[in-house]
Amino acid sequence: MRRLLRGWPAVLLLLGLIGVWELYVDLGGVDPLILSPPHAIASTMYTDRSLLWSNFLVTAREVLFGILLAGAAGFVCAIGIHLSATLRRAAYPLLVASQTIPIVILAPLLLFWFGFSIVSKLIVVALVSFFSIVVTTLDALSAVDGDLLKLMKTFDAGRLRTFRHVELPAALPGLLTGAKIAAVVAVIGAVFAEQQAADSGLGYLFFQSIPQLLTARAYAAVVILSLFAIALFALLTLVERLALPWAHTSRGDRRR
């Protein structure tokens, strides 16, 4: 209840901004084809609901599978880099360098290669999500207390058992933090990929709607994409709370 109350300022601000937007379009003489007023976006969301829904499902699938792909690949990569100094020296510079190539350049080439299928979108989404997942997982792995590793040595634990019992569980909060960061950029990645080559998806619908002067529909797509990213972030936060409840209670304790 108290949490709901704390959310009030944000809700009020949002409602206020929507109100200003509505008044600006209605009283400012702005052509609704240039800037749709909120009420028109809302009514479009209702009348176009089946169209928006079917396109949402396409984008949602790209984003979800893209993040899963990035999560799996990123986690494995981070573990490999953590366990092998050689691999770290070999792969880490490449990993950083890969992020300096703008996805704007990479995406059209990938789409040219893989075509209209979902594969091309998955790769773009995975590429934009991958880096944050590797970095946060690696950080969590290297944050493991050195004294704990010494302790495991006096318990005669081999490298693999130390990894399994001490480092692997410690890496999971890092993986989830990375996925939370990725969730937000993954949606952007999917929209971008759909702009390049697609025949469905909310991004595709958005870029189709603008030249057709279906401005309200374009805004509706944006609203849904944004809500989707927020929902994904919230979902991952919930997963973190439920699956790794210790990650929050213990951190404060360790800080002392």
Partner: protein, 263 residues
Amino acid sequence: MPAKGEMETMIEAPPQEPRDLESPAGVRIEAVDRTFATRQGPVPALSGMSLRAAPREIVAVVGPSGCGKTTLLELVCGLQAPDRGLVSSEPAALMPQRDLLLPWLGAVDNAALALRARGVTRDEARATVRPWLARFGLAEFEHARPAQLSGGMRQRVSFLRTLLAGKPVLALDEPFASLDAITRQDMQGWLAHVLAEEHRTVLLVTHDVEEAVVLADHVVVMSARPGRAVAELEVAVSRPRKRTDPAVVALRERALEALGLGG
């Protein structure tokens, strides 16, 4: 010197066996030097440090902060090698200063870590740990995570974890330093009780002179860095010991004097 205290000792005091210092068992440290290279240049941690713990003996090492006590334990545990001198010890398990319990595990699984480290299955390890949890007054906290345990409970779980490593030597690094004064006294009594039944060679590093005298058979006093042994006191006081026992008080004063804190 401790003659005055001797008169106060209880009648059921066990006969003192001579120290078996020639046995290869236990812990033997002779003229050990250990220097660390830092950015500011070499920092000697230990210089000419010697120490002997006969099998099943409890030896406390007291000294000022930063006198190389932790280094000493890491040498005994084989985590470091000396630059010079001899370190010979039966296999030793460490109990670190901070409890270092894994935040995602319940008490039972944290205490089982040393068993799991050797490849014992989870069910088997838990079955081994459970009776110990009951003995240590932690039965109801089997699945409580460290964040839900008090400081004293966490140290008990941590001690149990080291005990169950099954090594003949226990290297305890300031086990109660992080506890409040009342809990610390409580835990010292508890540890004395446990060690009376668990016959291990114990190396107890502490900066609490009273803790050393209450728990140990021998107290080794170290100098400031670079650390070396400057005094060794025999604690010929029967157990259970009381802090107020004049013999204990006298020994505490002697240890403080050796530390340069007497008077």
